[in-house]
């Protein structure tokens, strides 16, 4: 198969593939953070509802979606492994215990809704309800901590930056979750759901400011690394998006609010990517160009991704349009 081997001669169409994959990784991470984020957020809001019907409504709202949403994490992990194997290995083994915390939270989180519906007795449901909340809050917090450590180039599992980013990401999931629940459940959940979202978006902005301040102190070139257009633009945009989110949620324009939450998520992820670049692992100083796999597998993966990503988008369009609109009274998990 000489044609396939010839793919190793140079980058496909002369494209800057290492940078494209670096960007693609953050798109995948952002997509995971937004999609699984709104069902994590729904899990956090679940804690504030004590009426059984309301709790069932939350589970029914995320039922068809959460599994597909979570696969974005697997896709992100696989893509990181495939494109920057040494970074994958260093990053995951360096944050050994944190990674296992994330996995534990995801296990709890994944099982809980399925188990909750298996038996309709109060003790069983109370227990799985708690697991659902714990997993939904812990998973984004620990993932945020992981991302914070990654960005700050820290070798330790728990750092101040990590904790602050963890809080920011958790609040961001509540922001998305509130908009999603308002959109999907109509008036079947109390008005307070919108208030949680609005409170969370305020807290989120504070946490982002705290993160930037910590980074300014910690990064080698200090504030200069942050006072660049590609960083300033998404940060300013975040403030505007947050304001738009609040207005939209108050007016009941829930789809707009959910869109603003998506915008906030991608803005956060793009700030992380821009601050990190050209490094892909600030702790070791490995740059995107150094850590990328060799040309042949990179080209093959790029072809694979170019074919599969539109297909995946189609799957999600099918899924979300099959279950579009507010859920009705008869729907169960």
């Amino acid at each position: 198969m000489t044609s396939l081997v010839a793919l190793g001669d140079g980058p496909l169409f002369g494209l800057p593939l290492p940078e494209l994959w670096f960007a693609l990784l953050f798109v995948m991470l952002g997509t995971f953070l937004f999609l699984d984020g709104f069902d994590f957020g729904a899990g956090a809001i679940f804690a504030a509802l004590d009426d059984d019907t309301e709790r069932e409504t939350v589970l029914a709202a995320i039922g068809p979606f959460w599994d597909g949403n979570e696969v974005w994490l697997v896709v992100f992990g696989g893509a990181l492994f495939a494109s920057f194997p040494s970074v994958y290995a260093d990053l995951f083994s360096r944050h050994y215990l944190l990674m296992f915390g994330i996995l534990g939270a995801l296990i709890l989180r994944g099982l809980a809704p399925e188990m909750y519906e298996q038996r309709h007795d109060p003790a069983w449901q109370r227990w799985w309800g708690r697991s659902f909340v714990a997993g939904s809050v812990l998973a984004p917090f620990l993932l945020g901590a992981f991302a914070g450590n990654w960005l700050a180039g820290s070798a330790r599992s728990f750092t101040l930056v990590g904790v602050v980013v963890g809080v920011a990401v958790t609040l961001l999931t509540v922001v998305s979750g509130a908009a999603f629940l308002r959109l999907k459940t109509g008036r079947r959940l109390p008005e307070s759901v919108a208030r949680y979202g609005i409170a969370a978006v305020g807290g989120y902005l504070l946490a982002v400011v705290a993160t930037l301040a910590l980074l300014a102190l910690r990064l080698p070139n200090g504030p200069d690394a942050l006072l660049r257009l590609p960083v300033v633009v998404p940060v300013v945009a975040s403030v505007a998006l947050a304001a738009g989110y609040v207005v939209a949620l108050r007016r009941g324009a829930n789809l707009v609010a959910l869109g603003a939450a998506a915008g906030l998520t991608y803005a956060l992820v793009s700030v992380v990517a821009v601050v990190m670049y050209p490094a892909v692992d600030p702790a070791t100083g490995a740059t995107v160009r150094e850590a990328i796999v060799s040309t042949l597998p990179l080209n093959l993966m790029s072809i694979g991704a170019a074919l599969l990503l539109p297909l995946i988008t189609t799957y999600f369009v099918v899924l979300y349009s099959a279950f579009s609109g507010p859920i009705s009274a008869g729907e169960a998990y």
Binding site: M1, L4, G63, P64, D67, G68, E70, V71, L73, V74, V75, G77, G78, A79, F81, A82, S83, P85, S86, Y88, A89, D90, L91, F92, S93, R94, Y96, L97, M99, L103, G104, L106, I107, G110, L111, E114, E117, Q118, R119, H120, D121, V293, S294, L296, P297, L300, M301, G304, A305, L308, L309, Y315, V318, L319, A322, F323, G330, E331, A332, Y333
Partner: protein, 476 residues
């Protein structure tokens, strides 16, 4: 504190052994569920809707538990086997990434439509989603087995030194991904999954059929279980003989490509010809059970049998003994016994399939209590045989993580401490055994509560649509 290498290996073994149960269930159930859905849509007969909904519940639980345990495996390559991931990432990471994008996405998104969408989408899209879910489970196996089979028979790569570390570079993707082992592994694994599920279905159905026809209890929905038993038997008749025939070819392929593993499977220490096939072998000293250098087995064997198997018909063929390899042998006792148990079970399943098929032919399928008991007792043995097969594959290839290229001990994360590895090993032992218990409990509950009641079916549903839209909904 356990040594990080040992702890990482134990942890990976534990998480894989538990994880594999769930993909076996979902891959094995996939063709049955596609069949039930197709028949449901085509014929509109309530029995097929009930079959689809009942087995979809078990599929959905298996899929969820499979997802959460599978994410762990993907991440363990980074956390515990960082040196392996750095060395082999270029070849190994690609298939994992494609698996996520091509297969897992397909499966997870369409499972949402399939489980929750019967009332929401049309027949065509519903059928497409059933096929997409089934196809997704099988495509997952394609990419995972490409990655695994490359470790068994690595091809299409070259070793390059980068930053003082040996790194695998992909040079020939076709040779690497369609490596010699892949086809054998894929056929053996997928057939094993369907066979395991057929046995499981047959065992569950036999329980109800037995209670009704043999013990004379009044079992509701006995027609549901009778149909299940027949469908499971068809599955078993198709898969059990194939598994034995194919397994024999697979064994010969191992003898050619991984002679050290084959020698461990047969416990051959010294290179010899006319090697017997031991049916039973016992170490003469108890301490030798865990000793990789154990010999002096007391055994009962068929003369020339192993040579005959390895060469494909020549009882005088030479088999290379474990002592002739430079590397330490894998734990022979585990490989030897796991292999024997797997093969023994494989023959037992063929016997069961023919026995059931014969009773069906003579019209006594529902009256043969002994057959029912045998099926009930065998309901989990297919999964056990699959586990044993993986133990032969994975333990048998030790000490290599990539055959002939990298040893397992060299693949472990360099910075990993014994304390960290022991802590997570302990944590996962608790969590995974808990998961297994929980899964067993939930599946047992689904089976005990039986098929969905007739009044819940679509055909008898009220026009207001007050019917649970979900196959998972369980109204307790």
């Amino acid at each position: 504190m356990i040594d990080p290498v040992i702890a990482s290996r134990l942890q990976f073994a534990l998480t894989t052994i538990v994880h594999i149960i769930f993909p076996v269930m979902s891959m094995g159930l996939a063709p049955f569920i596609v069949f039930f859905t197709w028949k449901d849509i085509r014929t509109g007969k309530p029995i097929y809707e009930r079959l689809r909904r009942f087995w979809t519940k078990i599929f959905a639980v298996s899929f969820v538990v499979g997802t959460v345990t599978g994410i762990v495996l993907e991440f363990e390559f980074g956390t515990n086997f960082a040196a392996f991931s750095t060395t082999a990432g270029e070849l190994f990471g690609g298939p994992l990434a494609i698996e996520g994008m091509m297969a897992f996405m397909l499966e997870a998104t369409f499972l949402g439509v399939f489980v929750f969408g019967r009332e929401k989408v049309g027949d065509v899209l519903y059928m497409i989603s059933a096929v997409a879910v089934g196809l997704g489970t099988w495509l997952s196996a394609v990419w995972i087995l490409i990655a695994n089979s490359w470790m068994q028979t690595p091809r299409g790569y070259e070793l390059v030194t980068e930053n003082g570390q040996q790194v695998v570079h992909l040079v020939d993707p076709i040779a690497a991904y369609l490596n010699p082992r892949f086809g054998y592994m894929f056929v053996h694994m997928q057939n094993a999954a369907v066979e395991s599920v057929a046995l499981f279905m047959a065992g569950v159905a036999a329980y109800y059929v037995f209670r009704h026809h043999v013990w004379g209890y009044q079992v509701e929905d006995v027609d549901f279980w009778e149909t299940t038993l027949k469908i499971a038997l068809v599955g078993l008749l198709l898969t059990a003989p194939l598994q034995v025939v194919h397994g024999d070819m697979y064994g010969r392929h191992v003898a050619e490509t991984q002679p050290q593993k084959f020698a461990a499977m047969e416990a051959v220490w010294e290179t010899d010809s006319y090697v017997p096939e031991y049916i039973i072998a016992v170490p003469t000293d108890l301490a030798d059970i865990t000793n990789p250098r154990a010999k002096d087995l007391f055994g009962i064997g068929i003369p020339g049998g192993a040579s005959w198997l390895a060469s494909g018909g020549d009882p005088t063929a030479e088999i290379r003994g474990l002592n002739s390899f430079e590397t330490e042998a894998p734990p022979v006792a585990i490989v030897f016994w796991a292999f024997r148990a797997m093969v023994g079970l494989g023959f037992w399943f063929v016997l069961l399939a023919f026995w059931g098929g014969y009773r069906w032919y003579t019209g006594e399928l529902f009256e043969d209590g002994l057959l029912h008991k045998a099926l009930m007792a065998s309901s989990l043995l297919g999964v056990l045989a699959t586990e044993l097969g993986w133990i032969v594959t994975e333990v048998g290839r030790q000490p290599w993580v990539i055959q002939g290229v990298m040893r397992t001990s060299e693949g472990v994360s360099p910075g990993l401490t014994g304390a960290e590895a022991t802590l997570t090993l302990g944590g996962f032992a608790v969590v995974y055994l808990g998961l297994l218990a929980l899964y067993t409990y939930v599946v047992a509950r689904i089976i005990r509560s039986g098929p969905p009641p007739r009044e819940e079916l679509r055909s008898t549903a009220s026009p207001t649509g007050e019917v649970p839209a979900s196959g998972v909904a369980n109204d307790d």
